[in-house]
């Protein structure tokens, strides 16, 4: 791996963000709306319940973590879409750039953009609604790490899908988090789900995060074992995602799709 080539991919994203308010605004606009909406919703629900249960960490905390996951995933896909939109594949892949360097550049770009969203969410939720996620201490780290790894993995799979099916497949990508959210139990315990949905949930790392978040809010004890399992699952997902991307890229080189990407398919 050459550091300069990965840096080039990151630098491209920086140049684009620096010169374009239309790209900067979405980094925090949607998460701000979500924080405000779910913050007030949680406050309202608190007025109906016994004083023991607090919806702010259970609901607003869950939304914050879920939005972080979405930002990570979209950080990867959006960086990739920049090459789709500017029809830049030929220039990049006819250069010495390796697939691993390209993917590393997408991931680092995503770290930067998702951190902006996370900081905005933490500031808003803490100042306006008194959500103090930091009070949970070090246990937050595996929560964020699992969501980060799974967001990266899903982002890479999504880019593979667009690389395989062509630019028009972009619309498949945006609803992916919404499709997953019912299975991972962002807002409700997994026991609420039918058995088949619980089976799906067991292979999705975020479901362990939200189960543990609820456990922490109600009795203060997350399960180290299930968080470790989630981390392992997410790490495995990253490896699988990279394998899928490399296979898709090699197929695109074999068929000539990289050179004629705007044609979408060569068959």
């Amino acid at each position: 791996m050459a550091f300069e080539r990965t840096a080039a991919i990151v630098l491209r994203q920086y140049y684009l963000l620096r010169g374009s308010p239309a790209r900067v605004l979405p980094l925090f606009a949607w998460v701000t709306i979500d924080m405000v909406l779910w913050g007030f919703m949680s406050r309202y629900l608190n007025t109906f319940t016994a004083s023991r249960f607090n919806f702010i960490p259970a609901l607003l905390g869950a939304v914050l973590l879920w939005d972080f996951f979405i930002r990570v995933m979209q950080g990867v896909t959006t960086a990739f879409f920049e090459d789709v939109w500017s029809r830049n594949f030929l220039n990049f892949f006819a250069s010495p750039l390796r697939v691993t360097e390209y993917l590393a550049g997408l991931v680092i770009s995503s770290i930067g953009t998702s951190i902006i969203g996370l900081v905005v969410m933490l500031i808003l939720s803490t100042i306006i609604f008194g959500l103090s996620l930091f009070s949970y201490g070090i246990v937050l780290v595996p929560f964020l790490l699992v969501l980060f790894l799974f967001g990266i993995a899903l982002g890479i799979v999504a880019t593979s899908l667009v690389l395989r099916l062509g630019p028009a497949a972009e619309w498949f990508i945006w609803p992916i988090p919404a499709l997953i959210s019912p299975f991972v139990g962002v807002f409700y315990p997994l026991t609420t789900l039918p058995a088949w949905m619980q089976s799906v949930a067991r292979v999705l790392p975020p479901s362990y995060v939200f189960e543990n978040l609820r456990a922490m809010v109600s009795n203060g004890k997350p399960s180290a074992f299930s968080l470790a399992a989630a981390l392992l699952l997410a790490a495995a997902d990253i490896l699988i995602a990279c394998w899928i991307f490399v296979r898709t890229y090699r197929r695109a080189v074999r068929t000539g799709l990289i050179a004629r990407y705007s044609a979408e398919t060569l068959t």
Binding site: A2, E4, R5, A7, A8, L11, R12, Y15, L16, G19, S20, E82, S86, R87, N88, F89, L90, N91, F92, F93, A94, S95, P96, L97, R98, R250, V253, R254, G256, I258, A259, L266
Partner: protein
């Protein structure tokens, strides 16, 4: 004798039963400009795409300065660069940003100095902060050529590099590329449909038809060797009567 900058052996590409490139072999030496000519669909761009590593050959080998492209893709492409009318640089980045980005991809030493040098050589001083998407097609071509020179490539692939330039600018670019090839260890593979340009620039031409090399030789003497007055007449004959020429 130094090894060729490009060595292509028995290169082929099939799409199912369609044979796009049919076992071609050729070399490009240092300081040599080779014209890859042929009618539309002859296999020129397919050949260039395979040399650029964005299309996997069905058979054969490509070596760039003795480096096997199939086995050491990244090292081989570090010695290569290209400009093509169908591959403009990202229009949402400025000229300078694009040169910096691609300079990093090609790991150019003293990148800042090299960018300044190329901006000056290609007359891009006034455009350095302009986004490439707002440039005229001629200006975009100059930026693409500047990018193609960034890493001082040993093998330079130019696919119709002057297609969108006015005659005066095209002439300047041709002179510049000739000087670039003559001054260093670079070899150039050039495609063009402008036979006047090919005759002026190329040391040798390869005529491709239906994926095969039909004719090869000096562009100044080749037409006479095949009973044609000009290179353009020969091109038309290749496009219309390839079999007759192959038999001759």
């Amino acid at each position: 004798m130094p090894p060729p900058v490009l060595s292509v052996r028995e290169l082929s590409k099939n799409y199912g039963s369609l044979v796009a490139v049919d076992g071609i072999s050729f070399e490009v030496a240092r300081q040599e400009i080779v014209g890859l000519l042929g009618p539309n669909g002859a296999g020129k761009t397919t050949t260039i795409n395979m040399i650029l590593g964005v299309l996997e050959p069905s058979g054969g080998s490509i070596r760039i300065e003795e480096v096997d492209l199939a086995k050491r893709r990244s090292q081989a492409l570090e010695r290569t660069n290209f400009a093509a009318v169908y591959a403009p640089l990202p229009g949402n980045l400025t000229v300078e940003q694009n040169l910096r980005l691609f300079g990093l991809l090609y790991r150019v030493k003293k990148l800042g100095e090299r960018i300044e040098q190329l901006i000056h050589e290609f007359g891009l001083d006034a455009l350095r902060h302009a986004k490439c998407g707002v440039l005229s097609s001629g200006e975009q071509t100059r930026v693409c050529l500047a990018k193609a020179m960034l890493n001082r490539p040993r093998l330079l692939l130019l696919d119709e590099p002057t297609a969108s330039l006015d005659p005066a600018t095209a002439q300047e670019i041709r002179v510049m590329i000739r000087q670039f090839a003559a001054a260093g260890p670079t070899g150039v593979l050039w495609t063009s449909h402008n036979m006047y340009e090919v005759e002026e620039v190329c040391d040798r031409v390869l005529f491709l038809s239906h994926g095969k090399i039909l004719l090869e030789g000096n562009p100044k003497t080749l037409p006479g060797e095949h009973g044609r007055e000009t290179l353009e007449d020969l091109f038309i004959a290749v496009a219309r009567e390839p079999l007759a020429l192959a038999r001759a």
